[in-house]
Symmetry: C2
Subunit: 358 residues, 2 copies
Amino acid sequence: MGTEISTLGEFGLIKRLTENIEIKNPETKYSTGDDCAVLKYADDKEILVTTDMLMEGVHFDLTYMPMKHLGYKSAMVNLSDIYAMGGMPKQITVSIALSKRFSIEDMEDFYDGLRLACDIHGVDIVGGDTTSSRTGLAISITAIGEAEKGKAIYRNGAKETDLICVSGDLGAAYMGLQLLEREKDVYYKMISTAKTDTERLAISQPDFSGREYLLERQMKPEARRDIILKLRELGIQPTSMIDISDGLSSELIHICTQSHCGCRIYEERIPIDYQTAVMCEEMNMNLTTAAMNGGEDYELLFTVPITDHEKIEQMEGIKLIGHITKKELGCALISRDGGEFELKAQGWNPLKEDSKEQ
Amino acid sequence: MGTEISTLGEFGLIKRLTENIEIKNPETKYSTGDDCAVLKYADDKEILVTTDMLMEGVHFDLTYMPMKHLGYKSAMVNLSDIYAMGGMPKQITVSIALSKRFSIEDMEDFYDGLRLACDIHGVDIVGGDTTSSRTGLAISITAIGEAEKGKAIYRNGAKETDLICVSGDLGAAYMGLQLLEREKDVYYKMISTAKTDTERLAISQPDFSGREYLLERQMKPEARRDIILKLRELGIQPTSMIDISDGLSSELIHICTQSHCGCRIYEERIPIDYQTAVMCEEMNMNLTTAAMNGGEDYELLFTVPITDHEKIEQMEGIKLIGHITKKELGCALISRDGGEFELKAQGWNPLKEDSKEQ
């Protein structure tokens, strides 16, 4: 069970979790321990701010999500939003509301994951709030970063004939989730039908070998700092950019709506990993749907002027999937056999679906 | 019941709530609608960041807290932290996780309160996250503001012989909460013993006349922008400052711990409103305890050099309650009869108390 948080109290817990945090950025003047953090950014920078909330039972399932991974992912999804503006993250604040079933060790694990993500991305943890919840765990993270003045990349700058590019591959995080959910169901079914302790002990852990990539994409997503650095190095200034959290379809529609344009993307060009394809086959699911609407990829979707074509071709891990059109042409996927399908934002919408009131 | 949120969906709801928001500050370059908000602060400013999470059943009770007041208070408690650093708030981000029992109208009421608080304080709503929760309502707000470079007021600057000052009066918000809780209990008792519809309809609403101030302090706290402006006008730079959210005792201990000093405050000098005193009498509670440990006052507690004595005396609504001492003398309250009582941080600690796991 671990140590009850009440043995430390709120202030004690905060102290324990934050006492070893070292400040990495000169932009952080004062970190935790006062009413506010104090920051100072250089005059040639603009400040980026983004925030995301993660709720137990909606965004994560602690049955298979270790606290350390949860901390890592919670930070990562916010950092990804800073990169999606072409910026560099510098600080985060972390608010957590937790019920009594969580121990000090749970919180330490969560912070270990959080710190690891922050260390990799050069980010300071500068504050937050730790409080209690009647049920479950609620996490709210705000990330702050910088972009060169006038160089932030919005969703609204795509122009007709621009090329549409995507980093990495899509659908793997979603298939990882399907796999974890399936194995969870199997496990619970076996537990519930086991009649003796011997039978219960004989239930084996699921074998995930050959599916490691899917699990990693679901449980340990990586925000694409490397892509931003590479774009800068090559002197490419994308005309629009967004990170893929709700699925490629949904994000493309965001870009096209805000840029007042349409798009054509090609099914055969959507980057998909081998393990994703195998898993879809095994589960009898449509691969293109998984890649288009799965979500949680945290890859970058961006557009560049057609004149940057050669530079983009040089970039490893970037796939050119289509181009921007006039608004009147709408947003469509061209299938392998040449069919045209209108894009729909079938992305994950927790407010619409089966989140159960308890 | 109002209109189900699923009729709008997540993006529709966000659009509805944010479409009429006007940007007031030149520091806000880009607001809602992208991966991040984009801000730009003048080079002679430092940036202040603070965040607070409010959980249903822990921080607020919707039985008596209208959604509009909740929105107002949620913003206010964050703005208060910016003022507590001697700064001016400029932006907030608002994250909400809500269960299916909330309607679009509920969210509109919440945003009305939020907007009202922001309008009064000249603050822009620049982003956030709206998502679902399995149970209840979770609110996380981050406030961003500015202080003149080098002029942010920390908790750690109090010096021996400094005067300890507090704005407004204390204990009223706490007594307002006691009153609301009492009336809620009475109401539920009457409902549960009523045998017929006629009896149920005859149950009257509680009469709060003469206690309006207590309710207002609990349900509609005001962040003390006016005090910060007045201090600037008089050229007073406090040596330390904090806002009173957990109670005077607790906040004084924060200042003294971080400033490595002690303090003496005088019971007879603690500002208390007449209604607070009457309510304590009626409920047979200790008035000084309510004022020292009640919390949620959102008044400013600060220290000034003794040379500012005359200037402080000029300030309306500021009470001089004691002075800073050497660390060795500890933190103590001097009672009316001259007794010395060590201060204890009996402030509200939700992680320690009776928050029930469901």
